[in-house]
């Protein structure tokens, strides 16, 4: 579905990431974990076409219209209602106004926001705005979903609930997902494979681990699975080793 090879990303010509090779198979839920500031987000931005890489290529098996991007913040157009925000992508794809509104209402209902269509983002809570943002992206029926720490700002209860809802949708649609997070527990409980990114500058992917927990999953149960603890420890070790200075070549 997605192949990244030899990717280097940086600002002002100085690479933050270098030599990134990453493959995400169709239907796979892949997570990119790593310390803050390691440039994880930049990889997603390159895939979404928001950032030009310094080097390297990104190959997609689907068109750019089939790629959905769920951002870290829940910035919606403040001057548009929840319904108009969800309908926006559909309108861009030339869906007629009435039909777009109807579909938007359907998505809001599915996100538990029936009756909130006429509210402006400023009148919604953080969790509600996040649900509108999810509806806005899912309404376009993406095949590949890019997510950048989408639930970082939410409290634990809302976060678990929304993650669970999203996982169910991913299962139903057989979506391919590339999630970026620094939360290792979230990474393990949601994904098939976790790629750990090292520290910059010139960070590369340090290790990749398969998650031996069968899908479909329930977020809370996944944390109780026997494979969860050992994998979490290994990921911690990967990151801890990453903080040590590189051994001098002998």
């Amino acid at each position: 579905m997605l192949r990244i090879s030899g990717l280097a990303v940086g600002y002002g010509g100085e690479p933050v990431l270098d030599g990134i090779d990453l493959e995400v198979a169709a239907g796979e839920f892949a997570t990119l974990g790593g310390p803050s500031g390691s440039g994880k987000t930049s990889i997603l931005r390159v895939v979404a076409g928001l950032l030009e890489p310094l080097r390297g290529t990104v190959e997609l098996d689907v068109g750019s219209r089939d790629v959905g991007f769920l951002f870290q913040d829940d910035a919606l157009l403040p001057w548009r209602t929840a319904r108009q925000n969800v309908a926006l992508g559909l309108r861009i794809r030339d869906v007629a106004q009435a039909r777009a509104d109807e579909q938007a209402d359907g998505w809001l209902q599915m996100m538990g926001l029936a009756g909130y269509g006429d509210r402006y983002p400023g009148q919604l809570s953080g969790g509600q705005r996040k649900r509108v943002a999810i509806a806005q992206v899912l309404a376009l029926r993406p095949r590949l979903l890019l997510m950048d720490e989408p639930f970082a700002a939410l409290d634990a209860i809302v976060r678990t609930r929304i993650t669970q809802e999203l996982l169910e949708w991913v299962e139903r649609e057989r979506l391919t997902v590339l999630l970026v997070t620094h939360d290792l527990e979230e990474a393990i409980s949601a994904s098939d494979v976790v790629h750990v990114l090292g520290h910059g500058p010139r960070a590369a992917i340090r290790a990749s681990h398969r998650v031996g927990i069968p899908r479909p999953r329930r977020v809370l149960e996944a944390r109780g699975h026997p494979a969860f603890g050992p994998l979490l420890r290994r990921l911690w070790e990967d990151l801890a080793a990453e903080r040590m200075p590189e051994p001098a070549p002998s």
Partner: protein, 251 residues
């Protein structure tokens, strides 16, 4: 029962009335020279005579016409130039230094020049009001464009929006909220431009009356005109605020 005593508008009105009462009492007690500080009752009398005698209306109309026309032309010009500068770097390079200069100086100093160029009629007042408003609005539009929320731009781009959609969905609403934020100031500027223009050289308008009152040392008329201009501008502020609330109801 005592709730109204705590309401800010009631308290402000009470404060204003007490001030006027003290002023009136001081005048009647002979503590203030009526030549310099005529009592409020005298000022009210002058205002009443002006309005009742019908002398006021052509002057008010002249000032209002210059101010409204200047506001309108200034808005259109400021918005057009602001968008042009935001969309075309070449235009920005050309306009920005001029606008920064015009923004830095007290623009009313241009009034004598406009009188020389355009005569003492409506045109010179309109020009002054226009330039006061246009520079303000230019920066509102230009900054609104540049300070647009990058997250929203990226959001719309990942939803598949191109340049046209971005301008319609992100830039125009963002700029609108900036322009509305400056709108009340613009209304005030338009009146400043009209009145100052009349003050410098004219044959009618509130500024002309003010100039006349001053040259005849008529303090009552001067104060009456100041009060009148204040009232008109406050009324327009209230209208502008309603418009702002209507257009920015998403806030």
């Amino acid at each position: 029962m005592k709730g109204w005593r705590r309401s800010p508008p009631v308290r402000r009105a009470a404060a204003l009335l007490s001030l006027l009462a003290v002023w009136e009492a001081a005048s009647r007690a002979g503590l203030l020279d009526p030549f310099y500080a005529p009592p409020p009752s005298a000022v009210a009398g002058v205002l009443f005579d002006l309005a009742a005698g019908g002398d006021l209306w052509p002057h008010l109309a002249a000032t209002a016409a210059a101010a409204f026309a200047g506001l309108l032309v200034g808005l259109v010009l400021g918005i057009a130039l602001g968008f042009a500068a935001a969309l075309a770097p070449l235009v920005a390079d050309l306009l920005e230094p001029v606008m920064i200069l015009l923004n830095a100086i007290p623009r009313v100093i241009l009034a004598p020049l406009f009188v020389i160029w355009l005569g003492i009629g409506l045109a010179s007042k309109l020009a002054l009001a226009t330039i006061l408003v246009a520079v303000l609005i230019f920066f509102a539009v230009y900054n609104g464009f540049r300070e647009v929320d990058r997250r929203l731009v990226e959001r719309v781009r990942t939803l598949g929006g191109g340049r046209r959609v971005l301008i319609r969905e992100v830039y125009v609403p963002s700029v609108t909220s900036w322009v509305l934020g400056s709108f009340r100031v613009a209304v005030g500027f338009a009146f400043t431009g009209a009145v100052v223009g009349e003050f410098v050289a004219s044959s009618r308008g509130l500024g002309y009356l003010l100039q006349f009152a001053q040259s005849t040392y008529n303090a009552a008329l001067t104060i009456a005109l100041i009060v009148l201009i204040m009232a008109v501008v406050l009324l327009l502020f209230a209208c502008a605020e309603r418009l702002e609330r209507r257009l920015l109801r998403w806030r």
